[in-house]
Symmetry: C2
Subunit: 336 residues, 2 copies
C-alpha cells in the first residue's frame, strides 16, 4: 500500500495537523515513459503554504482531498523509461506520499557520489538554486557589495549568505534564535547576524551592522524586518523578494509603513521571482554549486524529521514556525 | 534689483505662503564663463516638496533663507561665455528669482522655433524627459501592453499616457477632477480614466478598465491608488516609481497594506529613478519628442500663474494640491 498526506481543510493562520489526512491507496503502476519511485526524503518548503490557500498563488492550488504538492528525493523501483534504471535516485514532484508515478522526461537524476542524496532537495536542489539565481540574477550582486538576508538560517538564506561571501561581499543575516545566529556566523561565515526576536530596533541594528547601507537585500521573511531595509538601501540598491514567510500565516493581513518614496531617492529596485524562470540554467548552476560544496566554500545543515510520512504535517508546521536550521526534510524510507 | 523667493521655514504638511519670503537683492554680475539671465517662466514641480524638508531627499535640501531651488526658462541679458549671446533662451537652474547667474557650460539652449519656449520646462524639458525615460527605460514598455498612470493629468503623467499610445498600448489614467479626466481622454487620447476622488473602490475600477491586468504602472502619486495596483499586475509587470505626491504633505506618515507577496506571484519589478540618470541621452530624446510634437502625436497643456515672482509660492502650493492641468508655470517677465 501507498500512504499519502492529503489536504483536509484550508488553514486559517498557521496550519494544524488536522488540516491534513493520512490515506492509504494502492501503489500505482507506471505506464510507458513513466517510472515508479519510492520516496526517501520528502521536502517541506515555505512556498507550500501559499498553495493551500483558497486564493490562487503563482500556480494552481491544492484542492481539498488532493495529495499535498511537493518534490521528494526518491529511488526508482520500476522503470518504463529508457533513461532510468531501478535503483536510480531522482528528484520527483510526486507530492507527499510514499510511492508515486512520474514521467521520466524532465526527471532530474541525483548523483549520490557528489553529496548525500538529501542535498538534492536542499543546497543542490530548489532552495540552493533559488539562492543562486535570486542573488546573482535578480539581485545582480557585485563583488564587495553589502548584503542583508532575512531568514538567514533557512534552506535558501543560508546559501545566499555563503554565495555572497564567495563573491567577496559583507553579509549580515537575521534569524529567529541565538543558535541560528551562532550557526550562520560561526559555521557559515556570515560577517554578522542578529536574532530578530531579541533585537527591538531593527533600523538601529542595521545601521550598526551595515553602516554604509545595503546593496542587496534578499528577503525571505517580509514584515517589520523588511520595512526598515528601504531607508537603509544604498543608491541603486536591489531588493530580491524570494519569500514573505512572516505574512503567510496571518489570519488578518498586516499593514506597514509606506516606503515607495525610498525607491526614488535611492533609485532602487524591488523584484520578485520564481526559480522556475531559470529552469534552462539549473544544470549549469548545480555544477558550480557542487564544485563550491566540494571545495568547502558551501556548507549546509539539514533538520530531518524521522517520523515517516505521518510526520510530514508536523514537520511542515514546525518549519513554518522556524523550527528548522537549514533544510527541513522528512525521512520516509531507507535507500536500497 | 532682483527679487527672490527664499525658504522661511520648513513646512509641516502642506506648505503655506508664510513658509516663503520675498527678498530683494542686487542683480548679480557674471564672471568669465558665466551668463546673467532674466527669468521668463519659473517652473514649480512636485520634487521641490522633498527638498524643503529637514531630512535629506535625493539631493541637498534648501536651507532656511536660501533661494528656493528650481529651474527656469530664461533669456540671456549678459554673457561672458562664447556659446551664448544676449537674447538666447535657456533652461537654467537658478531657482526662484527674477535674475540669476549661471555657468555657461552645461546650460541647455531652448530653440524657440520648435515650440513655445515654455515647453522647455514641460513637455520638452524635465517632466517630458521623466515620462520618456521612466516609461521606456525603467518601465521597458513594449508595444500593445497595458499601462496605468496615476497623476495622469500632470506634467509627467500626461506625457506618459501619450507615449504609451504612440507605442500602441492600452492606457488608463487616474486624476483628481472630472475636467482632468475629460482632458486626458478627449484631448490626449487615453483609452479611459477615472476621477479618484469620486471612485470609491479603486480595485474594482481597475478590474473594470484593465480586466487583463497591468503591464506597466507609472506612479506619480502613491498611497491608496498604488496599493490596488499590485494585485492587478500582470506576470512580469513593472511599477515605475516616479513620484509619491500623495505622501509628501502628510503630517504623519501613512501605513498601508503589505503587498510584496504579489511581487513573487507576479514575478514583478518595482523601480524608482531620477531623470538625471539619463542625462547623456536627454538631447536625443528631445529630438524624438519634438518630432512627435510636430506630428501632433504629443499634445500639452500649461497652467500659468501670471502674478510674477511673488505668486510662485501660491502656484507651488496649488500644484501640490492638484490645481494644475499639465505643467504648472509662473510667468515672471516677457521675453525681449
Amino acid at each position: 500500500m501507498n500512504r499519502q498526506i492529503t489536504l483536509a481543510s484550508r488553514p486559517a493562520g498557521y496550519p494544524k495537523e488536522s488540516d491534513f489526512n493520512l490515506v492509504e491507496v494502492p501503489v500505482p503502476a507506471p505506464e510507458d515513459g513513466e517510472v515508479l519511485v519510492k520516496t526517501i526524503y520528502l521536502s517541506v518548503d515555505p512556498y507550500m503554504r501559499g498553495r493551500i490557500n483558497a486564493s490562487k498563488s503563482y500556480a494552481a492550488n491544492v484542492e481539498i482531498d488532493e495529495v499535498m504538492i511537493g518534490s521528494v528525493i526518491a529511488q526508482i523501483v520500476a522503470s518504463k523509461h529508457p533513461n532510468f534504471q531501478v535503483g536510480d535516485v531522482v528528484n520527483a514532484g510526486i507530492g507527499w506520499q510514499e510511492y508515486g508515478v512520474a514521467a521520466g522526461d524532465g526527471l532530474r537524476k541525483i548523483d549520490p557520489t557528489i553529496a548525500p542524496i538529501s542535498t538534492g532537495a536542499g543546497i543542490l536542489g530548489m532552495p540552493g538554486l533559488t539562492a543562486y539565481f535570486g542573488l546573482l540574477e535578480i539581485g545582480k550582486l557585485q563583488e564587495r557589495e553589502t548584503v542583508f538576508v532575512s531568514g538567514a538560517a533557512g534552506a535558501v538564506g543560508s546559501v545566499v549568505g555563503q554565495i555572497a561571501k564567495i563573491k567577496g561581499c559583507r553579509v549580515v543575516g537575521s534569524a529567529g534564535t541565538d543558535e541560528k545566529v551562532a550557526y550562520i556566523v560561526d559555521e557559515l561565515g556570515f560577517d554578522d547576524a542578529f536574532n530578530y526576536k531579541e533585537v527591538t530596533d531593527y533600523h538601529e541594528e542595521l545601521q550598526k551592522l551595515l553602516p554604509d547601507g545595503i546593496d542587496v537585500y534578499f528577503d525571505n521573511v517580509g514584515g517589520a524586518i523588511t520595512d526598515v531595509v528601504f531607508p537603509n538601501l544604498r543608491i541603486k540598491g536591489r531588493v530580491v523578494i524570494c519569500g514573505q514567510i512572516s505574512q503567510y500565516n496571518l489570519e488578518k493581513p498586516e499593514t506597514g509603513p509606506r516606503f515607495l518614496w525610498n525607491m526614488i531617492t535611492k533609485r532602487a529596485r524591488i523584484e520578485g521571482f520564481l526559480v522556475s524562470e531559470f529552469a534552462d540554467r539549473h544544470a549549469g548552476a548545480l555544477v558550480e554549486m557542487s564544485e563550491w560544496l566540494r571545495q568547502g566554500k558551501l556548507k549546509y545543515h539539514e533538520t530531518i524529521e524521522e517520523g515517516g510520512i505521518e510526520s510530514a504535517p508536523a514537520a511542515f508546521i514546525s518549519m513554518l514556525k522556524g523550527g528548522n536550521i537549514g533544510k527541513q526534510l522528512v525521512k520516509i524510507a531507507d535507500i536500497d
